[in-house]
Amino acid sequence: MSLVNFTSREITCKIVYYGPGRSGKTTNLHYIYGRVPEVRRGRMVSLATQTDRTLFFDFLPIDLGSISGFTTRFQLYTVPGQVYYNATRRLVLQGADGVVFVADSQGRQLDENLESLQNLHANLLDQGVDVRAMPLVLQYNKQDLPKELVLTPAELDDALNFRGVPSYPADALHGTGVFESLKGISELVLKRLAQGAPA
């Protein structure tokens, strides 16, 4: 997928929300969906199981309109977090321009977070993508839960953020940190434009 098409003057950013199951990836998309004016957003495609877990993936296209003469579109995807859907994850991850890793801030979910993060690295590596070159931000979701249940952003940074990428504490249900994360990843992705390296 070409990020910037100078001929048709289009910018398309594919951003994938990655993370362990039940960490709040779809919630992120729902919140964004709710804030984007109707004319700007496409239909949110959500293929969920009966129990409301993402089975296949969520897809939210956002049309940002004409920016500097470029028709700019964002495509937001989520992957199913459950360990056994790795094939789907790899499919969704293909051609991603940036990844928002949504981590579950709960202390007892730390291992799942680590596992999912390793899974992300492994899948990227499989696709021949340099993990260090892939724009990535971390979102520490569920910070609204009682203090005794969650780790602080600093603790999570210590545990997960070994590449020192931007990280955002969030409460996706109420919207805290959702747009901050989206803005963070957009900036990283778009910055690569300046280096003339379409992903």
Binding site: T7, I11, I67, S68, F70, L182, L190, R192, L193
Partner: protein, 650 residues
């Protein structure tokens, strides 16, 4: 004196719509990169559309990012007042210093510059100083710079030099968003449809919108009952809707688009920076090289293309070509200055032509005539008569151009001036990167005449200006040649300025030269004049050794040498002529050269014919037998004395 930044006016509180997105984006960019993005940023819009809010928001955002920044917000009136107060207190300079140290200057209402010439001048100075120091200026006005009456052209161009953006009347959605936010700020809620009704009115500015909202809030507070859509219309004096119940506009009950708007304007700024960054780089390069006078067609072509492609490589290649052109032009300048003005040296798209022109010039710039290799210093016959002169020459050779400049070798014909001149030339030419011009004045004059004829005096001049030393034989031949004297005068100054050695020969001391301009004479006299005396016996002996030794086989006859050396001779040239006569006689009589033969030849009958020597001569030829041989010096027709006497008596 300066209004503080109102904390309520921040970007977060700014409702962004289509009408002001560009301005807000530019404002954010400026706040994030003060002084580098758009400088100055000029914002204009009708009143009540958020100029002041935007200015203050820029100030806040910049302060938040870099708390150390010195941000100053003030309206033009405040600025004028402060200026007048400072002038009245005799603190004009302190006032200027204060504003020149501001990192971000936000000036509101600059339209009031109309008819204030002195303030315009002051602001021009200030903006020049701030821009030069890389400080940000943001100006707001109710009209574009060009429409501010009576505004100095320089200010107009300066204001327009950064970015001029306007803000329009907010559209319906933005109006709704503004109303909602304001209502929220005041902790008031309205029935659905009320705010939409207010927003449906096309107020020309946000202040009127606020006024309407205030009326509704007041009405609701007084009546203690929630205001309805219909009563809102009543309160605002709007005609009742024909179809009651339906909102005037298809009200979108969407959640407030605030977060998304902020996100959108952020992304816009990022894309603007990223996508068009290469264009900015190209434009910058074009401006830079164009400013230096180079053609930038190649770079302009880049802007026409859609994709950034390999712009950086092209710019780098262009810069390299320009460097090469600069080097070529500099080289050509030294060889042939008019050619350096050739337009090919300003056009990197014609590199091959430029190289060709340079090569041609290089070829044409043959070095000036050099010293003759026939006169090495080692062969210069030394003796007590020229000891001092030689010592001075050696000092000059050790330190050319610095010790004695110019050096004038004075002496009668044949005393070795030319030999010594060429010898100095040879020694100087042996230095690294030396270009020694060593020639007779006659050749110098002839060359100039040829150059004038060929219309290439500049070329001729630069050829000599390139030399590291100029040695001119028989400088007295310049007499009466005004143009050559003029050229020599200029060359002279050039060489002295650059501390390059000048050497001249003349038959008389410089001050006694005739027909030479005073300014040249004094310059010649200003150096060192050394006189080469008649050769003494040691010199004669050494010269004879050389003359006889080089033509007449091994070991010239000692008696002959002594005889010849003992004979007084006015010059080496005369001595050479003597030897030649003896040699001719010996050849004619088919006998060896001996002292006896020499005596009979030189002291007996004078030789029947005079040999012209192979040397360049600089004066009249004096026969060794004495007496003037030159026909010109003879008076052949004496005037009739009687005629003259009659004349005198009359």
């Amino acid at each position: 004196m300066t209004a503080a930044l109102n904390p309520k006016f921040s970007f977060e509180a700014y409702v962004v719509g289509a009408a002001n997105r560009l301005a807000v984006t530019a404002g954010r960019t400026v706040a994030e990169n003060p002084g580098s993005a758009y400088n100055p940023l000029f914002i204009y819009s009708g009143s009540g559309l958020g100029k002041t809010h935007l200015l203050m928001a820029i100030g806040h955002a910049a302060k938040k990012l870099a708390p150390g920044l010195n941000v100053e917000y003030l309206t033009l009136d405040e600025y004028v007042e402060a200026f007048h107060a400072a002038i009245a207190a005799g603190q004009g300079d302190a006032f200027r210093r204060r504003f020149q140290s501001v990192d971000i200057l936000l000036v509101d209402d600059v339209q009031f510059l109309t008819n204030r010439k002195e303030m315009q001048a002051e602001l021009l100075r200030l903006s020049e100083a701030l821009q030069a120091a890389g400080h940000q200026i943001v100006l707001a006005s109710d009209r574009p710079p060009a429409e501010i009456a009576d505004l100095d052209e320089r200010l107009i161009s300066r204001f327009s030099g950064g970015l001029v953006v306007d803000m329009g009347i907010p559209d319906y959605e933005t109006r709704v968003a503004i109303l909602r936010r304001k209502a929220e700020e005041r902790a008031t809620s309205f029935q659905s449809g009320v705010l939409e009704t207010v927003a449906g009115v096309e107020f020309t500015n946000v202040r009127e919108l606020m006024g309407a909202l205030n009326r509704l809030i007041a009405f609701q507070a007084v009546n203690d009952a929630p205001i309805t859509e219909a009563s809102a219309r009543q309160v605002l004096g709007l005609p009742a809707v024909t179809e009651p119940g339906a909102p005037a506009e298809p009200a979108a009950p969407a959640p407030p688009p605030d977060e998304f708007s902020v996100f959108l304007s952020d992304v816009t700024a990022t894309v603007g920076r990223a996508v068009e960054a290469w264009r900015a780089r190209v434009s910058e390069a074009i401006l830079r090289w164009e400013g230096e006078g180079y053609r930038t067609k190649r770079l302009e072509a880049l802007l026409a293309q859609e994709t950034p492609g390999a712009v950086d490589q092209v710019i780098a290649a262009f810069a390299k070509d320009v460097e090469r052109l600069k080097a070529l032009a500099a080289e050509v300048q030294g060889l042939d200055s008019p050619s350096a003005g050739d337009s090919v040296f300003r056009d990197p798209d014609r590199m091959a032509e430029a190289e060709a022109v340079a090569a041609k010039v290089r070829e044409g710039a043959a070095p000036p005539p050099g010293p003759s290799a026939a006169f090495p210093l080692a062969q210069f016959a030394a003796g007590p008569s020229n000891e001092v002169a030689l010592a001075e020459v050696r000092e000059i050779l050790a330190n050319p151009g610095k010790k004695y400049n110019p050096l004038v070798l004075v002496g009668a014909g044949g005393t070795g001036k030319t030999h010594l001149l060429n010898a100095i030339g040879l020694e100087l030419a042996a230095r690294p990167r030396a270009v020694v011009a060593c020639l007779s004045t006659q050749v110098f004059v002839d060359e100039l005449i040829a150059a004038i004829e060929g219309d290439r005096v500049d070329w001729w001049r630069s050829r000599y200006r390139r030399a590291t030393a100029l040695l001119l034989d028989d400088v007295h031949l310049l007499a009466g040649k005004d143009r050559t004297q003029e050229e020599l005068f200029n060359l002279f100054n050039h060489f002295q300025d650059k501390e390059r050695q000048l050497v001249f020969t003349a038959p008389v001391p410089p001050a006694e030269l005739e027909g030479i301009e005073e300014r040249i004479k004094t310059r010649l006299a200003g150096g060192l004049a050394i006189t080469l005396a008649e050769p003494d016996r040691v010199v004669r002996r050494a010269a004879l050794d050389r003359i006889l030794g080089r033509a007449d086989g091994p070991g010239p006859d000692g008696a002959l040498l002594d005889y010849l050396a003992d004979r007084p001779a006015a010059s080496i040239r005369a001595l050479t002529a003597d030897v030649q006569r003896v040699r001719d006689a010996a050849a004619a009589q088919a006998q060896a050269m001996t002292a006896g033969l020499a005596r009979s030849v030189l002291e007996g009958e004078p030789a029947p014919r005079r040999r012209t020597s192979g040397f360049r001569t600089s004066g009249i030829v004096v026969s060794s037998a004495g007496g003037v041989r030159s026909r010109e010096k003879m008076v052949w027709e004496w005037p009739v004395a009687a005629d003259r006497m009659i004349e005198d008596l009359r």
